[in-house]
């Protein structure tokens, strides 16, 4: 097992009487990227802001290389952060923006040389004397990332940095960000509400829901073996049978009529629509018992039904699994 580099121990935060999250604990190894996912409004951003020092923790502590951070002021924490908005200083050129943090530590000349080298390496050198408003949203976010990376923080926090970009740009930018983070050997926490993004960027994924950390582990494992209903609903694709059991989507099929057999299970559902994605056809159906929507893989020759028509979600009994219930899932 590798050494723990960054650690959060029993972190809780509440505003007055309202608890945002409680006893959140996890640790990161050096150069590891953790994706923090969860539905909106579950305190992901607040957790990140608390780690950064923008908000104090109500209780608990943070450690980088064993050094406690909670007593340190924000400017003394070796932590960088990229926000949803690029937040470039509009009155400074791109180069001046990039070296804003570096100027506090180095002479102007040295900072400029380093800034130019960084801009060169990411292909933004042509914009060094431009002002932020003349750059596109994606380019601005790239500059914001470089500005945070150039001061070489020990931990980089990214708070939904792509949420204000259109889908194409988003895809392009996240590949770029991942490459850059790995190249710089950065330890990072990446907050998103996009499952796909979490899988793409994270070495591990942590699901935060209802104020606590539900599960943390490698993306594939959390997807295949959700710890509980919340994780299954938010991060995995599974039919939730009851509080303790689920069936992964890949084991589900759709049938217009029940096909009686001993090893089969049937759930009555209402047909809503069908869509195609990545070469596969899917039925969008609503389970009658829970009124919850599910997406079930379909054979492409299966005939479409009318919205509201009833059918059955089928699965073999053997496909039922029990929620792992474990917080930490290891490989």
């Amino acid at each position: 097992m590798n050494k723990v580099y960054f650690e959060v121990k029993g972190a809780s935060k509440s505003f007055k009487t309202k608890s945002i999250f409680q006893s959140v604990s996890f640790s990161l190894q050096q150069k590891e990227i953790l994706s923090l996912v969860g539905p909106s409004g579950t305190g992901k951003s607040t957790l990140l802001r608390s780690i950064a020092g923008l908000e104090p923790l109500s209780s608990g502590d943070l450690y980088i290389n064993g050094v406690s951070m909670s007593q340190k002021k924000m400017k003394d924490r070796p932590i960088g952060m990229v926000f949803q908005q690029p937040l470039l200083f509009p009155h400074l050129t791109i180069l001046e923006n990039v070296i804003y943090g570096l100027r506090l530590k180095k002479k102007k000349r040295e900072a400029e040389i380093e800034g130019l080298r960084f801009l060169q390496s990411v292909g933004l050198i042509d914009y060094k004397d431009a002002y932020p408003h003349s750059l596109s949203g994606g380019q601005q976010q790239r500059v914001a990332l470089i500005r945070a990376l150039i001061v070489k923080p020990k931990l980089l926090l990214l708070d939904e940095p792509f949420s204000n970009l259109d889908p194409d740009l988003r895809r392009e930018l996240r590949d770029w960000v991942l490459k850059l983070l790995k190249q710089e050997g950065m330890t990072a926490i990446f907050v998103t509400h996009d499952r796909e993004e979490a899988m793409l960027l994270g070495d591990r994924v942590a699901v935060l829901a209802e104020g606590s950390l539900q599960q943390i582990g490698p993306p594939r494992l959390v997807y295949d073996e959700p710890a509980n209903e919340l994780v299954a609903r938010f991060y995995s694709d599974a039919l939730i049978v009851d509080q303790n059991h689920y069936i992964l989507n890949q084991h589900l099929s759709w049938s217009a009529h029940p096909n009686p057999a001993d090893d089969q299970l049937f759930f009555e559902a209402e047909w809503l629509n069908d869509t195609y994605q990545y070469g596969q056809r899917y039925a969008h159906v609503k389970l009658l018992k829970t009124n919850r929507r599910y997406v079930v893989p379909l054979q492409s020759d299966e005939h479409a039904m009318i919205n509201g028509e009833r059918g059955f979600i089928c699965a073999r009994k053997a496909a039922i699994h029990r929620f792992t219930g474990r917080e930490e899932t290891d490989e």
Binding site: A52, L54, M74, K75, I79, G80, M81, F83, Q85, L87, F89, P90, H91, L92, T93, E96, Y100, G101, R103, L104, K105, K108, Y131, P132, H133, R147, A148, V151
Partner: protein
């Protein structure tokens, strides 16, 4: 189209009256029914300069206006930032309370303050006048600076903090340059209001603090509009001088390591 409309409107409403005022100050009084004449006269300016207290009054007016402006900016920026970026109980109540001086008749405030000023030994001093000039100006400055901080947003300052900058450095490199438009508005308002004060200056200054309005107002009773125009021209120049002084100070405070205040005006 829009630009030309802007320029022609500003010419009609701002430039033309100014030019006419200056012309008036060097032409004699024109009586109804007389033929138009363009005789040149310096009589208006001579009368203006005849009063030997005039340069002292000009200096004192600028000094008081600038002192009031800097105190205003200090109060306005601190409270504007708090009102804009902080959340606390009774915030809207405090915001309303800070505006209240505007709804109080100036005389009422002045007479009440006069007694306090005498007790503090500030009556009849220029600094007492500076303090009393805060009454009609601070509410505006707070409003203007709050709007400025609203526009700036908290994110930009948090970003600077995340990059490791100290508060004073952030103030010099981010807040001050980005707030310059609001600061300019506040300075113009404060200087103009401060320079227009007659009653407050007369009551608290007790006749021993002679500012330009104190000399200027008695002339209002005369019908000599040549002299009036000379006074008014000199009066109109004062705010411009004061604003220039504030610009220079702000340039000095802003960090000189980086070339700032480009990009945004």
């Amino acid at each position: 189209m829009k630009k030309s409309l802007f320029y022609s409107l500003s010419a009609i409403f701002f430039l033309l009256p100014g030019v006419l005022l200056m012309l008036k100050s060097v032409t004699p009084v024109w009586k109804w029914g007389e033929a138009f004449s363009f005789t040149f006269t310096l009589r208006g300016w001579e009368t203006f300069l005849m009063d030997d207290r005039i340069f002292h009054a000009l200096f004192l007016s600028i000094l008081i206006a600038l002192a009031a402006t800097f105190i205003n900016l200090a109060i306005g920026m601190i409270s504007g930032k708090a009102l804009s970026h902080q959340n606390f109980k009774g915030k809207s109540l405090i915001e309303t309370l800070l505006l209240l001086p505007l709804f109080l008749p100036v005389m009422a405030a002045a007479l009440g303050l006069h007694i306090t000023m005498i007790r503090l030994g500030l009556a009849n001093t220029w600094f007492g006048v500076v303090l009393v000039h805060l009454v009609p100006t601070v509410p505006y400055t707070i409003k203007v600076m709050k709007a400025g901080y609203d526009r700036l947003g908290g994110g930009m300052l948090e970003q600077a903090q995340m990059l490791g900058a100290k508060p004073l450095y952030i103030f010099r490199t981010v807040e001050l340059p980005l707030l310059m438009p609001s600061i300019r508005s506040a300075v113009f308002l404060t200087v103009t209001i401060s320079m227009s004060q007659y009653v407050l200056t007369a009551v608290i200054g007790g006749g021993s603090v002679i500012t330009l309005p104190i000399i200027y107002y008695p002339f209002l009773q005369s019908v000599d509009d040549t002299v009036m125009a000379a006074f008014s021209t000199a009066f109109a120049l004062l705010p411009i001088i004061a604003v220039g002084a504030v610009e220079i100070v702000s340039k000095l405070i802003r960090a000189n390591g980086l070339v700032l205040n480009r990009g945004v005006k």
